[in-house]
Structure formats: C-alpha cells, structure tokens
C-alpha cells in the first residue's frame, strides 16, 4: 500500500467495521486533500494558508431504505462517525446504489507532483504578471478512494492550480479565476488585451434589443454550466456546439477512475450535433455521470469538467469582429427556470478595435442560446466555477442586450 492510501484505507476500515452486519450493502467514499494557498492582500500582507482535510461519506442500503452519513476529522474517527450517521439516517427518497456488476474503474495515472518551491515561484511570477491588488494561487492535491461492500475498490489522484485575482474593468471590480492541472496551462484571460490599452473610452450607447454578441470565456463559462445543469427544452442546437464533460484523457483537468458511485469514468457529450440525435444530453436519463463536489455531496448527475471544443483556426479574439463583446460578468447569472440574466462589462468593437465601453445586461433563454451559437474564436481558456469550464470565445446570435 502506498503512503497516499494509508489514511483513506484506515477510514475505510473504520467505517466497514461499524457497518459490517448492520446493512445489506454499503459504499465508502474517502477524500484526503492537501492544499496550499498563497495570497497577496490589498492590506499589503502576504498570506500562506495550508490545509489538510479528510472526509468520509458512507451510503448504506437496508431493504428499501438508504442512509447517507458524512464526517470529517482524523481517519479512524471520521470513518466511524460517517458510518454511524449513515445508519441513523436510513430513509426512503434516496437513489439506490448501483448493482455491483456495473462497477468498474479506468486507469488514472497520478499527475506529476508540484513542489512547494515550484508553487512559490509560480505565485511570484503571477503576482508580477499583472497589476492586480488581490491575487491568490491555490494548489490542491486530492486522493480519492471509493469502495463497496462487495469488494470493489477504486483509487485516483488529482491536482489543480487555481489562480484568482481582482482587476478593475471600466470602474468595476472583476474577479477572474483560472484553473489548470499544471502551471504551464495558466494564461491570463485574453479579454484583458481589449481593456488595458484602451481606457478611457466613450460610454456604450445601445438600443435595447436582440444582437449578435461575442462572449469572452468568463461570460460564456457560466452559461455553458447552465446548459449542462438545466438541460434546455425543445432545442434545435446550432452546429457549432461540441460541448463535453471531460473525465478522462488528455483534455481532462480532473481525470478520475470512476464516477461518483463507482461506474467506470468516460467522457460524456453534453451538447454535440455530430451524433445521430441532435438533442442535448440528458443527464438524468443515464446512469453514468454522477459526481461528488464537494466530497460530502451525495453522488449527483452533473459535470466534472466542461469543455467546449474550439473551432480549428488561427483566429485570435476578437479578430475582425464588429459588434458588442461581453468581456467579464459583474454578477452571477440569475436563473429563472430556463431564462437567464447577467450584468457584464462590455465593449463595442469595430473590425476588432474598441470604440466604446460600459456595462450591459444580457438576457436570454437557454433554447435561444443553444440555437444561436454561430462559431467560436481562439483557443479554450480554463475558467474556474463550480467545476472547471474550458471554453473559447463564443459568437452568439439573437442575445437580448439591455
């Protein structure tokens, strides 16, 4: 047993000892993580935050009832407590555990580890890379163990680097978050090239209405997440969609051995049109695809890492685009069933040159968004949201702008 597995196994054994003979089937999910966060705060101080976390989630089945208990703490104690809480919470209304014959895992080699010195060097490079006032770099390495009472066991390891900073854009403070599994993947948002050299700019003078809009990755990302989580109704997807939930392979930021309840990991199409059926992927119709973010959530259908495949081509955003470009969200997206609303910092472009800047409200429905994607520009940028979202710039028709 490797050193990385010792604590998860101790938690598993502690839970199994409590559960043995007291239920028909059980599942133990253990996540052990180590994170280091380096931050420079506006008050001028440098901060270093280091965390060691261990969480255990137990699901148990007894007759028609399922129990779900979670605990964090030292391995043995957390395992015992999670198991005890799972037995105490046996009720109906939970999804059942998958049958053992469906369980399996794909190979998931651990990513090359970063040393503390490499993290520190990266942080100082990122601090110097822009004039941000608040900047933080978080490195996270997590080991996950999933085991079932029938003897199935899967283990995998992930690593993420998260770069966060605040930056002023047209007078408003915008928070940018970029995520990668290796430092080389961390690049500043391309939208900043439209901001820095161009201030001050005349204000936007827009007539409210439907427009063709260029969405920068930070604006596109929460809308893609909305598509994945909300499953648009009655859609006719535009041909430019190639949106995936990436769980294994070279593009996966969070490769995994199996999904949140032990089914072998695979990449899932969320919205693609090169398939026989041109309907969006419907999460709930498929058994594959559960995820546990964070560790104490029940296994729930949802994306691990969304990736909109960029169109091949050398185009560097905004290219020769003329029209409105939304650069960064100022609010979270407000969802009302299938409709969304968000406020964004935006610029008016003429043949790629910035002619005006300001704040706009973008309004729309998921079906209109899904049918309105005209093309993509540039390479994918990795935006950190509830899950990582890798997306290029999107050119969308018929978006309502106020």
């Amino acid at each position: 047993m490797s050193g990385g597995l010792a604590e998860p196994h101790e938690a598993l054994q502690a839970a199994a000892a409590v559960l043995a003979g007291r239920c028909e089937v059980f599942e133990v999910f253990v996540r052990r993580s180590h994170s280091l966060r380096l931050a420079h705060h506006r008050r001028g101080e440098l901060c270093r935050e280091e965390s060691y976390e261990l969480g255990v989630a137990c699901r148990v089945g007894k007759g028609q009832l399922i129990g779900f208990g979670r605990a964090s703490g030292e391995a043995k104690e957390a395992g015992q407590t999670a198991a005890r809480l799972a037995l105490q919470s046996l009720t109906d209304g939970h999804p059942t555990l998958p049958v053992a014959s469906l369980l399996g895992a794909v190979p998931c080699p651990p990513p090359p580890a970063l040393s503390e010195e490499e993290i520190s060097q990266l942080f100082h490079r990122l601090r110097q890379a822009n004039d941000a006032r608040d900047v933080a770099l978080t490195w996270l390495r997590a080991r996950t163990l999933l085991a079932r009472s029938e003897g199935f066991e899967a283990f995998w390891e992930n690593q993420l680097v998260l770069w966060e900073w605040s930056q002023e854009m047209f007078g408003e403070e915008v928070m940018f978050r970029r995520v990668a599994s290796q430092p080389a993947q961390l690049d500043p948002p391309s939208c900043l090239s439209l901001v820095c050299a161009q201030q001050p700019l005349p204000p936007l003078a827009l007539e409210p209405g439907l427009r063709r809009v260029l969405l920068a990755p930070d604006v596109a990302a929460p809308l893609l997440l909305g598509i994945a989580l909300r499953t648009p109704k009655k859609t006719h997807p535009a041909g430019a969609w190639d949106l995936w939930d990436v769980r294994r392979g070279a593009h996966a930021l969070l490769p995994m051995g199996c999904d949140g309840e032990g089914l072998p990991a695979c990449n899932l199409p969320v919205l693609t049109v090169d398939r026989a059926e041109t309907q969006p992927w419907r999460w709930l119709a498929h058994r594959h695809g559960t995820v546990r973010v964070p560790w104490d959530s029940p296994p729930t259908p949802g994306p691990v890492h969304l990736w909109q495949k960029p169109f091949p081509g050398p185009a560097t955003p905004p290219g020769s685009f003329s029209g409105l470009a939304a650069l960064a969200p100022l609010t979270e997206v407000v969802w009302e069933q299938q409709r969304f609303r968000l406020l964004a910092a935006a610029v008016e472009l003429s043949r790629g040159g910035v002619v005006a800047a300001g704040v706009v409200t973008l309004v729309g429905s998921l079906s209109r968004l899904v049918s309105g994607l005209l093309t993509t520009l540039g390479p994918a940028e990795h935006v950190a949201l509830g899950c990582p979202v890798s997306t290029p710039w999107l050119v969308v028709a018929n978006l309502e702008v106020r």
């Binding site: 901060c47 270093r48 280091e50 605990a71 009720t91 704040v359």
Partner: protein, 393 residues
C-alpha cells in the same frame, strides 16, 4: 474544556507569536420536505482546528491532541488533553418539518460550536441552530430554530414589462434589508472600506441618506448571523453603522482594529480552513420616527422580493435583482411585473431614500452571504423604504 486553559498557558509560555488556535465542530442534517413527508434524510459532522501566526494559517481536519500537536510542531503528549463537552444535538427532522408549509423544500439544520484559544485566554461558545430552506424556485431562506418560520413560497413573477424612466419605488422589508446589507454592511467592512472601493470612503461622519435612516450590525440579535464571541475570540457587540442618515462606524477584525483604531469583534470564517475577515452578522435598519404604514400612493413601483443585490462603484449605483414586483397606480396594484435588475443611483448626496418604516421586520431571504466564497448565514431586519429616482436596468 479545562485542557484548553492549559493550552492557552502553553501558548503564552511559547516563543511563537501564535494569534490563536481555532477549534470547530459542526453537525448538519438535511432532508427533502415534500409537503407531507420527510425523505432523503442525511447527516454530516465536521470537525477541524487551525493555527494562525502572522500571515500563516495551518488547518487540519479533526480536533484531537494529535492534530493540535501537528499544528504546534510538538509531540502529542506535550499537548494538554481536551474534548468537547457532550455531543452536538439538533432537533429531529420531523419536528422541524412539522412547522413547514405544505410545499416542496430542501431543508438543512445546522448547529456548531467553536473554541478560540489565545495566549491571553479561552473563548468557547455554541452558535445558534440555524434552519435553512431552498424552495423549488431556488430561493433560499434562513432563520434561527425556535423563531417564527418565515414565508417560504416562491416569488410571484408576472409577465408585464417593467416601466422605463426614473421613478419612485417602495421597497418591502426584504428588499430593504438586502439594500442595507449591500449598501452599508459590506462597504463598511474594514477590508472593503480601506480598499478604496467603498462609496463611503471619506464620508465617515457625513450624512449620506436624506431620511434619518439608522443601520446597525448586531451579532447579539436572535438572527442567523448571531454569535457571542467572534472567530478571533472577541466579544460580540452591536455596532452603529449609520445613525440618522450619517455614516458612523466600521466592522473590523483584530488586524484592522489595531491598524485603524476600530473596535474588533466582527471576524468570521466558514471553517478553520479559512482565515477570518471582517464580516457583517445581522444588519438591522429602520428610519427614526418613520411612518408605520408604507405610502403606496407615492410610489409607482412596489418591490416585494429581490434575490440579491450588488454595488457597482464604477457605475455609482446599487443593483437589485427583483423577483416579485408590481406596477402601482394611486396606491393600487395594476400589474405583476416580470423579473429585472433595478438600478439605484448613488449621487453626490448618497442614495435617495426619502422615507421609511420605523419597525424593522426580520427578512429570511436570501439568508446567506457569500463574500470571498465563504457562504455564511447572515441575518437581516428592516422597515419598508421609499426610494426616489430608481430605474429598471
């Protein structure tokens, strides 16, 4: 808890400049309420401890001697033994459910306790049990267990387009509470204030609201953001942020308190894995000698519910995400409006709050405050407010 006193003495004797050891334990129950029955019941217990020393924070899951020894870099046997007194207890889900209306809800009940060990003493307390609900529209609510259950039904959005141009709006207590939380609560948190992005920089002691509005932050009130000692071990105290329309005070932690001469007592954090920062707790607002009944006839818009608010310093405006509102004519509702962003401009003399109610009413929605990705329960209570020159964004 005797071990903690010995631990405090250990810190006092040590050569390291430890600011504090922070111990935390939380128990949370969750279930789905489908109007008649409890389903999908789950339970979670978390425990962790951390140490702060200058700009350094180290946190570990668990609160045992071994974990404390790891934090201090000593052998476990040199750490005094200690344990929490008894188990954390929460009301039974069926007892909670019996108070809920017959609609579908996701329900959570959370209890927690903390202990702060500093070289100068030990401060331990149990936090109020907070109930939180999310309805089918995704709207969230929090209240303290034992208090009256607030209305939990989804907001009623209509189909009518909101009016254009500048107009007068009457805000019910819930949107008024969100307004005060965003406009006076966060901008008067010391870190936001000294960042220069607060609209109230340079305005301490200046009248910024036409009406004699008073806003206080009160962690001692029986609302979801309450505590007796903050997460640095400082005694909780009620602070006046705005008195009769004039900006008066700031919310500070020990660092800002020491640097800028503000009283500490407002440090909060999600768990030991995060450093504490100045955070509002329960924001309560009312207008001195205000009217008891809202003057509907003076307003064109009646704002009943909002989902959130956002201050836009560059735009010099506050934005409210309106979920339920009505068009008024001579004090009567004429149309139920679709949802929209309402823009409240901040001009040179501040916000145009022209009148308000004298009796704050608790507002359970949205109930959570998400500054710096740390989602904490926040309480609010406000009277109605009448605003001039607002517009639909």
């Amino acid at each position: 808890m005797e071990g903690l006193t010995a631990l405090s003495a250990l810190l006092a004797r040590g050569k390291r400049a430890v600011r504090e050891l922070f111990f935390w334990q939380e128990l949370r129950l969750q279930f789905r309420w489908q109007g008649r029955q409890v389903t999908g019941f789950t339970a979670r217990q978390r425990a962790a401890c951390s140490l702060r020393e200058g700009g350094l924070l180290v946190a570990r899951d668990g609160c045992t001697r071994t974990q404390v020894a790891h934090l201090l870099g000593v052998k476990p046997h040199s750490v005094p033994p200690w344990s929490w007194e008894g188990e954390l207890a929460l009301p039974d889900p069926h007892t909670v459910a019996a108070q809920l209306p017959p609609i579908t809800l996701q329900v959570g009940v959370t209890g927690s306790r903390v202990a702060v060990v500093r070289p100068d003493g030990v401060f331990a307390c149990t936090r109020p049990v907070v109930v939180d609900c999310e309805n089918q529209a995704g709207e969230t609510f929090t209240w303290v267990w034992g208090q009256a259950v607030p209305p939990l039904e989804p907001a009623k959005a209509g189909n009518a387009a909101p009016p254009t141009g500048r107009l007068r709006a009457l805000l019910h207590p819930q949107p008024a509470a969100v307004l005060c939380h965003e406009l006076f609560g966060h901008p008067l948190e010391a870190d936001a204030f000294f960042s220069g992005h607060s609209p109230w920089v340079g305005k301490l002691g200046t009248r910024v609201v036409t009406a004699p509005l008073t806003v206080v932050d009160d962690p001692t009130a029986a609302l979801p953001g309450g505590f007796h000692h903050d997460d640095e071990g400082e005694r909780a105290r009620r602070k006046v942020l705005v008195a009769a329309g004039t900006v008066k005070g700031l919310l500070a932690d020990r660092t800002y308190g020491a640097t800028f001469g503000a009283e500490p007592g407002n440090a909060r954090r999600l768990s030991p894995h995060y450093a504490p920062y100045p955070r509002l707790s329960n924001v309560i607002a009312w207008v001195e000698e205000g009217m008891a009944d809202p003057p509907l006839a003076e307003a064109r818009l009646e704002i009943v519910r909002v989902r959130s608010g956002l201050l836009l310093p560059g735009e010099r405006a506050l934005l409210l995400s309106v979920s339920e509102s009505y068009l008024l004519a001579r004090g009567s509702r004429r149309a139920c409006l679709s949802s929209y962003f309402l823009r409240l401009p901040l001009d040179g003399s501040g916000l145009r709050i022209v009148a308000g109610g004298c009796s704050p009413v608790p507002a359970a929605e949205p109930g959570w405050c998400g500054k710096g990705h740390q989602l904490l329960p926040a309480g609010a209570a406000a009277g109605w407010l009448l605003l001039d020159r607002v517009e639909v964004a």
